[in-house]
């Protein structure tokens, strides 16, 4: 067991973690933050995407101990004071989700993209989302939802 201190959605946690525990299971099973989900075991689908110090990472390929001393934002931490993040609102308005399983990761990947590149083209959005698989929407409405928020 290793002592780890990490901040998730603004809350500081001191945890004793097995070195092999993946960050996604720390979030889901120890902290009860089930908005982050597992879709594959090969870092392919992006359903488990969270922000680590503001940048998108796949929490199924990061060990919990690697998050020691870092700040994690999950989908539960995105809305502020009851106000949806503009991307959450835009996903709803553009029908950019169907089953919703990829949505947490997709929204956080989009947050990270717009942080890096506030005005991406549709093509840049499509390439930025290469690591996030959606099986329902055919992606077009996701791209539109992100474009609508981009400056």
């Amino acid at each position: 067991m290793r002592s780890v201190s990490l901040t998730v959605n603004g809350v500081l946690y001191e945890l004793e973690l097995e070195p092999r525990e993946l960050l996604v299971y720390v979030l889901r099973e120890r902290l009860g933050l089930t908005g982050t989900v597992v879709g594959c075991d090969t870092s392919s689908c992006g359903a488990c995407t969270v922000l680590l110090d503001g940048e998108s990472v796949k929490s199924c390929t990061l060990l919990g101990v690697q998050a020691d001393g870092h700040e994690v934002t999950t989908i539960e931490g995105l809305a502020q004071d009851g106000e949806l993040h503009p991307l959450q609102e835009s996903f709803h308005e553009h029908h950019a989700l169907q089953c919703g399983y990829c949505t947490s990761g997709m929204v956080l990947a989009a947050v990270s993209l717009l942080e890096e590149n506030p005005s991406p083209s549709a093509d840049e959005i499509r390439h930025a989302l290469e690591g996030n698989i959606c099986r329902c929407t055919g992606y077009q409405n996701i791209v539109a939802a992100i474009e609508a928020v981009a400056r």
Partner: protein
């Protein structure tokens, strides 16, 4: 057939209402099965055969039992007495269909890579995973066969020794007209052979199951990632010997299905019997790579299709022979899947002669079953590719050849025996060609050719018709389908101005909570937000036929409409009583009853119906109504799609430049959701054409065993969809609705592959197999170059 549609579109029905489902989903508040945890839960791990075919010489769970945290472990033999029969197959298409027993854990032999041979139960997910590694299994590997045609050879290794053959069944369908004579008289015969690549459905949520037992009462509650909680309850109660009345199945939020969760799986049964044996809550969640061998696959069918035609292009007969892989066992609907296309190999065309034969074959592979489209993409692909081949043979434009053969009189009874409700194939083709700019595309194609451009332009058409909303029940019975085609609805007007709509359908991304609320709101005069749609819990909605085969709206949605009519009928009587006039003098319009001298709203009537202080003499209190709707016919969506591709003849790369889809799905309740369904179906169909294929080596190892080797396309691989619509309401139901869930996946493989072949036709290429990878395209070109 009943009257023409009675709904007025454009108010609530037909409006792009934002989804009620979204707000929890965008905030991470969904209730996925894998979220479930209660104290005392044990986690299951399944030991799976790494071999496609092996005798199980020894399965020793002892070493696993010694591991910390392991509560119990069982081999297939240990649990063999827990089952009443095997996992269910609900569609044995012929009397002599071979249906070998399929136990949730194999005994004696493993028959595909991933076949479960033992199960461990441990106090944590990690301990269960460790314990799986500790079970000692001695496998004696045996020869395997993975190709369904090869499996029919005399000397092929047998999947089930006791059958003495790998043939599961042969099913035929012949029109009355002499097909042989029509072929003998034909001016032209085109014969084509295609392979439907094996596909892995890849719902992004892996499968999971959680069972909470109440041991002393013999009660079980099962949360499952299922499309079919009602069907699962009936069949699992039988398999596990649990009273149907004491098994509650809940499908909470379910993360996509596409047919892969339309099943009754070994792990659901295992979770139930382990919960019974241990008296503890039990949980199992698959990993993605585990799911690739243990969750059903789709397609894997060899197709031969022949068209007979006159010299001017009138098609007179079609003859089809299929060899379809079942995989190692029959899952819920495995043998019936290729037959869901059996009536559609004549496409949208008026063809008098029809001959169809399908042989289902066991192979040492993961079982196949329903994957989006289920039999209909295969049929559409074969007829649409063959029509293009005929057009090339006759030197005709493929659009013109299609127009020459379209069905134009409706209802249209097909040579294969079923009757298409309605359609207008010219309208959708005209719209699609106009939207695509067909003439301009042909001109650009010609000018590129003339200029010797290595990047050829290809234009592919698909004009399709499909059948969905499997019904009526008596027709399903006649084709030996094991269930009915009805669905249930209950509408309950609560005392304080809101309503509950209970549906037997079980959505997992399709937006029923919104669409169904629109139907009820429209009929009863509520706001959409005032209607709460309840589903996916057998204690809330005890009976239903669930969600698959694009059936939900055309069956469950129509059931809801009828339940609303019953509400209105009862409320009308109360309204007349309150207004002091005869019922015949009360007019109803969307929530308000108006008499000669006053009006009363349906919401007011709901309150008075539940207080019951002042109702007409003898009237039962309350305002709720149920309806079980069994449609008179399938619903028959159709449409025209145009794919535009650029094929690089030097690298073989295919670039899908544009995709135009004009679909006719009858009345549209929510255009936002309908377009979303079309987009998603297109993405999966394009993926079949260009990217996805489950590949086995000759020993039966799945080579595409993770998402890194099986290419589910991302946003970067797919184009913007150009979606159009024509609306020909179905005359068979009062909403005029058809189905939309599968149209995209049904039409797009044919459109894309017709475009790829069209791009290379002038080079002499007549076929490229799916998926049209750069290597396959390059090889097809090499063959004609040399």
């Amino acid at each position: 057939m009943s009257a023409a549609p009675q709904v007025e579109t454009g108010r609530i029905i037909g409006a792009p209402v934002g989804r009620k489902e979204d707000l929890p989903l965008v905030q991470g508040q969904a209730q996925w099965v894998d979220n479930m945890h209660v104290p005392g839960t044990v986690y299951l791990g399944v030991v799976r055969s790494p071999y496609a075919h092996a005798r199980l010489a020894k399965v020793d769970v002892g070493p696993a039992l010694a591991h910390a945290g392991v509560v119990a472990a069982w081999s297939g033999d240990d649990l063999a007495g827990d089952w009443n029969g095997g996992l269910p197959c609900a569609w044995l298409p012929t009397e002599d269909t071979n249906a070998p027993t399929h136990l949730p854990l194999a005994t004696g032999k493993a028959r595909h890579a991933g076949d479960g041979v033992a199960v461990v139960a441990a106090t944590s997910r990690a301990a269960a995973e460790d314990a799986v590694e500790l079970v000692e299994v001695e496998y004696e590997p045996l020869p395997a066969v993975v190709d369904p045609e090869a499996a029919l050879a005399e000397d092929a290794p047998l999947v089930h020794d006791e059958l003495g053959t790998n043939r599961c069944y042969t099913w035929t369908l012949e029109s009355a007209d002499g097909v042989d004579a029509l072929f003998a008289d034909a001016d032209v015969v085109v014969k084509e052979r295609y392979y439907q690549n094996r596909l892995i459905p890849n719902a992004v949520e892996p499968r999971a199951v959680f069972v909470q037992p109440l041991p002393a009462a013999g009660e079980y509650t099962m949360w499952s990632t299922t499309q079919v909680p009602h069907i699962a309850r009936v069949l699992l109660s039988g398999l596990c010997g649990i009273s149907e009345a004491k098994l509650r199945v809940i499908a909470p939020d379910v993360g996509g299905g596409f047919g892969s969760k339309l099943n009754v799986y070994a792990e659901e049964a295992l979770a139930l019997v382990v919960a019974r044996r241990l008296g503890r809550p039990v949980k199992w969640t698959e990993t993605r790579s585990e799911g690739y061998t243990s969750t059903i696959h789709g397609r894997d069918v060899w197709q031969e299709i022949e068209l007979a035609a006159t010299a001017d292009g009138k098609i007179t007969a079609v003859r089809v022979r299929l060899t379809a892989a079942m995989g190692a066992y029959l899952q819920l609907v495995t043998p019936g899947i290729p037959l869901l296309g059996a009536w559609l190999y004549a496409g949208a065309y008026d063809i008098p002669g029809y001959s169809f034969e399908c042989t289902g074959v066991f192979t040492h592979t993961t079982p196949t079953d329903a994957y989006r489209g289920a039999g209909r993409p295969e049929a559409t692909y074969a007829i649409e590719r063959a029509v293009d081949a005929l057009a090339r043979r006759l030197g005709k434009d493929p659009a013109e050849l299609r127009r020459l053969n379209f069905i134009r009189e409706f209802p249209a009874t097909l040579a294969s025996g079923l009757t298409i409700d309605s359609g207008d194939y010219d309208a959708s083709l005209d719209a699609a060609l106009a939207q695509a700019g067909y003439e301009e595309l042909r001109a650009e194609q010609a000018s590129r050719r003339a200029a010797g451009d290595a990047r050829r332009l290809g234009v592919g058409l698909c004009t399709y018709v499909e059948m969905c909303g499997l019904a009526p029940s008596r027709v399903l019975g006649a084709i030996r389908y094991g269930a009915g085609g009805w669905d249930t609805a209950t509408v309950r007007c609560l005392p304080t101005g809101t309503a509950q709509a209970l549906t037997g359908t079980s959505p997992h991304g399709q937006g029923h909570e919104t669409t169904w609320a629109q139907i009820v709101a429209d009929r009863l005069g509520y706001d959409v937000d005032e209607v709460e749609v309840l589903h996916g819990d057998t204690s809330v909605v005890p009976l239903g036929m669930d969600t698959y085969g694009s059936r939900s709206l055309a069956v469950g949605g129509v059931a809801l409409y009828h339940a609303c009519e019953r509400i209105v009928a009862k409320a009308q009587a109360i309204a007349a009583y309150r207004l002091g006039v005869d019922e015949s003098r009360v007019e109803y319009d969307r929530g308000t009853f108006t008499g000669p001298e006053g009006s009363v709203t349906l919401k007011e009537i709901a309150l008075s119906a539940w207080t019951a202080h002042d109702l007409p003499d003898g009237m039962e209190p309350g305002l709720e109504a149920s309806y079980v709707y069994d449609p008179p016919n399938f619903s028959w969506p159709g449409g025209a799609h145009v794919a535009v591709v650029e094929v690089d003849t030097e690298t073989g790369a295919v670039d899908l430049l544009r995709y135009v889809a004009v679909d006719d799905v009858g009345t549209v309740i929510n255009p936002l959701i309908v377009e979303g369904q079309v987009h998603g179906g297109l993405a999966q169909g394009v993926a079949q054409a260009l990217y996805e294929e489950a590949v086995y080596d000759e020993d039966g190892n799945l080579m595409t065993s993770t998402m890194t080797t099986y290419l589910v396309p991302s946003a970067a691989e797919l184009p913007d969809w150009e979606v159009g619509r024509t609306e020909t309401p179905s005359p068979t139901n009062p909403l005029g609705v058809k189905g939309v869930g599968e149209t995209g996946a049904i039409a797009s493989p044919a459109a894309v592959m017709n475009a790829v072949v069209d791009a290379l036709a002038a080079d002499g290429v007549a076929d490229v197999p799916m998926p049209a990878t750069p290597e396959r395209v390059w090889r097809a070109l090499e063959e004609v170059r040399t």
